[in-house]
Symmetry: C2
Subunit: 710 residues, 2 copies
């Protein structure tokens, strides 16, 4: 659908100019200089010819069909121009101008008008507030960044500066380049997920590199990402995670950065490789576009001497990658060709064995890479520099080794990486490795990160999540009685359900909870309490008191008539002292929960991803340890298992130190119930089940709070 | 003391050779080529002249005094040669050969012999198993790495590969270099801390860069590091933190890598800047050697457009650095010179304002750097590339700006950093910045890490730890009764104190704990229980049962006679079933502890740092959340405050959600008591107080275990 836009065969430049400092001049110049394979039509009512091309007064006057319009004129002119584009049946337009949503107020209104005009006319929009786009296959360069290298990475970027950074890095590394660059800008019309779909279907694109500050349709994006990442890897850096970063991102693209943990987990579950250091972004994308994924999360390290091998082992272990013991057969073979001082465990240390002939590296690599325990090989240290550092003639042995490395990776079954101090020197051996598509880095950190990303992608491809469908509409259904509870609250002008209402609602859907009884008098409280086997808890019920504890509106563990009557009296008194205006509905009398493991489950509507759920350890711990995990709803039964496993406290559920475990099955059921509830009742904005007490058998939702959308 | 060794004025090359492939030839060649300012004496019984220099049969035959011997001969020859060196009154020797401790067995014995010979003869040793050393001030290059750049960083390194890496990096960056390089090797004689002391006193050394795999005298090192870091910064990477990394480090230098958390915390408390990514090692050392520290942990960011600024703000926030709001005055001044679209909050975005004249960057910088909220400035993006990317003539404005940046940092009060995409391009403006000692990086990650290291160092210099003495001998004294307890256990051949013995010992030193009474019979248990107000706990006491719970040897919360008698019976039965050979000393009857906050305190003897203490949240949480901190003993009263603050759970101690806090004073007293105890009784190997229950007032050591050295 975006084909005519991103693969346009003819481009009109609206705002074409003869003034060399203007974008409308530079754009035509760049298209001509880069040798754009399609047709170029300058549009400017005041000119006849620009840079030797016929100039049109108006886009509608162009005789031939036009696929794409590059609009370089100011914000206010856009709606009028778009209408003309519609008339001409142009498929898409790139809007460079800023001055829209990112300014707020009138800018926001103008953007809405632009989007409405686009919808009306059928013209799809890239931007506004974008540096433009480049199709490197047809040399359609609508950005002005020169000499961007061609390759097989699609670049989807929400900052012109970051695009320039990544393209500059590719230019300096001289190895891998791009199929497309799209500056997403304000994402007013075409969304991230539409670009993603296009790149998934583009045969030349092998990996997708994204820089995101904020996205508007997160759910659709996750769905497309999931479909895409099983076919080709996506590498993404999401910025704006700090308060200050968000402020800066906000002023930049006019989109709000989302809760960073939610986003990161959601991306990863859709198979995206999430990057946090910008230095790693390009090398990882390059690696994933050219290397086979590592299937067994294991790597061997080959070094001459320590230091590098030790650091690499540290880093890889930090990433959770195994440095497996080599098989006896492998070790024996290595022993035969290496000096006595060498280490044939993993990391393998040739201990100077390569000093006289570096081609020994290839002999070792050939033995190691065949070991079934090993998923790939990382060579660290001086390879490629023996001829530089020691003796010129050693370069021959290095080149011979490089050719043999090349042969080893020809079948693309296990990747080989080379870290070399001499990466930025003139080294023919290293150039040969690059020729054979073997990644060469001078940074150990980057080498290890690239290895880790191949492991991560390999692990993902094997995972349950890669293989299942990614469904967002899970067709859970509301119950009439439930709708009545919500309707009643709304009728009363409330957007908060009272505790017993919330508990009734979740109970309707099968959540184990003791709703309790609402007592109006001391005596009634005692009557209810008498019918309860356990000691009881009393809690104030008032639509005006959201935080019961703050109002001293809770009494725990009462049993005698006297305690209960006194408790009732005290609670009501406290509530009135806390808020004299508060409407008191009564006091809830419920059984004290038994001891068990306290957990918390909450849902909210995330700005980017819609309904999300949080699960974690409850009690005071939740705030201190922040041992929580998030999931974009719905949660399938298998996903809820993964959610539990994603917390450090999951070992508590299993039972530690000889203790019995807790009822994970019921907990997972409760999580699924929450998932269903949120779809069934779209009126719900937020839900907090806190605490939920989990037992060896069963569980109890002790407190529940549901907030409705206003 | 090491002056004559590291600043030697005359060097003998033992093992000098005419064979070009031998180290004994290369060493002389390098000294001649580099223009060593001192005298060179080849020693080889078979040659008369080598490379034009007179060759001696024996070191004793050299007429003039010799300060340093470079020994290139094999391991087994070393003791004999050292004796000759002693005879000649040589101050030091560099031993290149491997084949010592790192091989274990006979290698270890040989190393011991070498060290003994050194002690005897008074010759100080660098190595063995080292790549050598370089004094760049006198061009005494005993390594063979050529063209190492001179500068003001001292490099102390335990891997020849890492030394080569760092020197190569310095060579490529062409800005900063070294005063000395020392390859520490097996650290058999001269230790890390002695080198550190030397570098502290070297007037040309401005910062010290260390790569450590393991060190033998950690406590002495910490003391020297503390003395050094208030005068000049130390930057350190400790490798071998992973199991595999340790294996690799172990096989390399023959030293054991220590507990990584203990080491990291100990280093940081001595003021060392600890680095985890090797890419950051050199840039951070370079920054610290040339830039003023940042005193207020705050930085301003200046950018043209978003992207970079957002990423930088994220990274700096992750490092705990403030991106403060600028003062109203600053904002007003900026508004006057920047376009309307610009952002004058922090990060400041010139929004294209520099497109026509990049010298505007200097105008902005001058305003921002004067803001009292701001401790330094980070310029991110394209500075230095406007002339490359847009229009050649813009380079003039960039150069003008660079000169003005230079003037701003002349007084070295607040540092300016420049991140530039064009760092690896030919840019005169960037060269000017380098000339003015302004750090220029093409990596945002590295730029931010360098900023963070200046903040960290600035924070340290202001801290309590920087200002106090660092005493390791704290003169705590044993008590006679305590010594009796230990003696008694030893007499019985035990190296574990029984629970009541351990409790008696700590109680002697003032720890609040209910020792309880040891009952031999059911009736005796009941008699003891009767005298206790609270419910009681029964615990088996046996030198053969270390883990009482595993043996089902504990009964909690008993009160009635029947319960207690039954409990006694059951516990003894369980213990016998668990270990029929176990010698049962009786059953401890102690009061049940009240509820409170469970914490754990433990001590052990660390291989590198001697006695260390651990404090953290107790109960099941300790294993899951690992919310613990370590301290090398002793712990001063102020340090114990810091220890509590270093855990995430410290907010619990202060009281959260309206709860009252816990008795931190008693807790700190207990920590100090442990510190004293460990010095007073050097027989103690490990001590575990777990759990310690802390109350609003007071605390209770509920269980104590003390293990003696074997």
């Amino acid at each position: 659908m975006l084909d005519k836009v991103l693969n346009a065969e003819s481009v009109a430049i609206i705002g074409a100019s003869k003034n060399k400092t203007k974008r409308g001049y530079q754009a035509i110049k760049t298209l001509l200089a880069d040798g754009f394979e399609g047709d170029i039509y300058p549009v400017n009512p005041k000119e006849d010819r620009i840079l030797g091309l016929k100039c049109y007064k108006d886009i509608t006057q162009i005789e031939a069909p036009v696929n794409l319009a590059l609009i370089t004129t100011p914000a206010r002119t856009i709606p009028g121009i778009l209408r003309k584009c519609g008339e001409k049946k142009v498929s898409g337009a790139v809007i460079i101008a800023g001055g829209f949503r990112e300014l707020g107020g009138k800018g926001k209104e103008l953007e809405q008008e632009v989007v409405a005009t686009a919808k009306e006319t059928g013209v799809r929009l890239i931007g506004p507030n974008t540096s433009g786009m480049i199709n490197l296959k047809s040399n359609m360069n609508l950005v002005g960044i020169q000499n961007a290298p061609r390759g097989n990475i699609a670049l989807l970027c929400q900052s012109g500066n970051m695009a320039l950074t990544l393209i500059t890095e590719a230019t300096i590394r001289k190895h891998e380049g791009f199929t497309y660059y799209v500056g997403v800008g304000n994402e007013a019309d075409i969304k991230f997920h539409e670009y993603l779909e296009f790149f998934r279907n583009d045969p030349d694109t092998k990996s997708i590199l994204m820089y995101v500050e904020g996205m508007s349709e997160g759910r659709e994006f996750l769905q497309e990402a999931h479909k895409t990442s099983i076919k080709k890897p996506i590498v993404l850096l999401k910025s704006g995670r700090s308060a200050t970063g968000k402020k800066s991102a906000g002023s930049h693209t006019g989109s709000l950065a989302g809760m960073s943990e939610v986003a990161k987990l959601a991306y990863e579950r859709a198979g995206i490789i999430v990057i946090e250091n910008s230095d790693e972004l390009f090398p990882v994308a390059e690696t994933l576009s050219s290397q086979p994924s590592i299937k067994n999360n294991s790597i061997a390290i080959l070094a001459d001497g320590g230091g590098h091998a030790t650091i690499a082992a540290d880093l890889l272990s930090d990433y959770g990658i195994h440095i497996p013991e080599l098989s006896d057969k492998t070790k024996e073979k290595l022993k035969k060709i290496l000096p006595e001082a060498a280490s044939v465990v993993n990391p393998v240390d040739v201990a100077g064995g390569t000093d006289s002939d570096p081609s020994l590296f290839a002999d070792c690599a050939k033995i190691i890479i065949k070991d079934p325990n090993v998923g790939g090989l990382l060579v660290v240290g001086l390879f490629g520099g023996y001829g530089i550092r020691f003796e010129k003639s050693l370069a021959i042995g290095e080149e011979a080794a490089a050719h043999r490395f090349g042969a080893m990776v020809k079948k693309r079954s296990k990747p080989i990486f080379v870290h070399s101090l001499y990466s930025s020197y003139e080294s023919h051996a290293l150039d040969l490795l690059r020729h054979y598509d073997i990644p060469v880095h001078d940074s150990l950190d980057i080498s290890c990160k690239c290895v880790a990303s191949l492991c991560k992608y390999g692990n993902y491809l094997k995972s349950y999540h890669a293989k299942t469908n990614f469904i967002f509409d899970w067709r859970a259904k509301a119950k009439k009685e439930g709708q009545k509870i919500i309707k009643n609250a709304k009728k009363e002008g409330r957007h908060v359900l009272l505790e017993h209402e919330a508990k009734q609602l979740i109970r309707l859907h099968g959540a184990p909870t003791s709703v309790g009884n609402l007592a109006q008098t001391e005596d009634e409280a005692w009557q209810f309490a008498k019918g309860i086997k356990e000691n009881v808890v009393l809690k104030i019920v008032s639509p005006d008191i959201l935080h019961k504890s703050d109002a001293q509106g809770v009494k725990l563990n009462l049993s005698s008539k006297k305690e209960i009557q006194k408790g009732f009296h005290q609670i009501v008194k406290n509530a009135k002292a806390y808020n004299p205006e508060a409407e008191i509905r009564g006091v809830l009398v419920a059984p004290m929960a038994q001891k068990g493991l306290e957990v918390i489950i909450g849902t909210k509507i995330d700005e980017q991803f819609g309904p999300v759920i949080m699960y974690g350890l409850g009690g005071i711990m939740v705030e201190i340890m922040k041992d929580v995990t998030f999931w974009v709803l719905p949660v399938s039964p298998t996903s809820s298992k993964k959610m539990l496993e994603d917390t450090r406290s999951s070992v508590l559920l299993d039972g530690v130190r000889g203790q019995k475990g807790y009822d994970k099955k019921s907990l997972r059921k409760l999580i699924s119930m929450c998932s269903d509830l949120i779809e069934s009742y779209p009126e719900i904005e937020e839900m907090d089940l806190n605490p939920v007490i989990v037992y060896e058998q069963g569980l109890d939702v002790v407190d529940a709070r549901i907030i409705l959308k206003k």
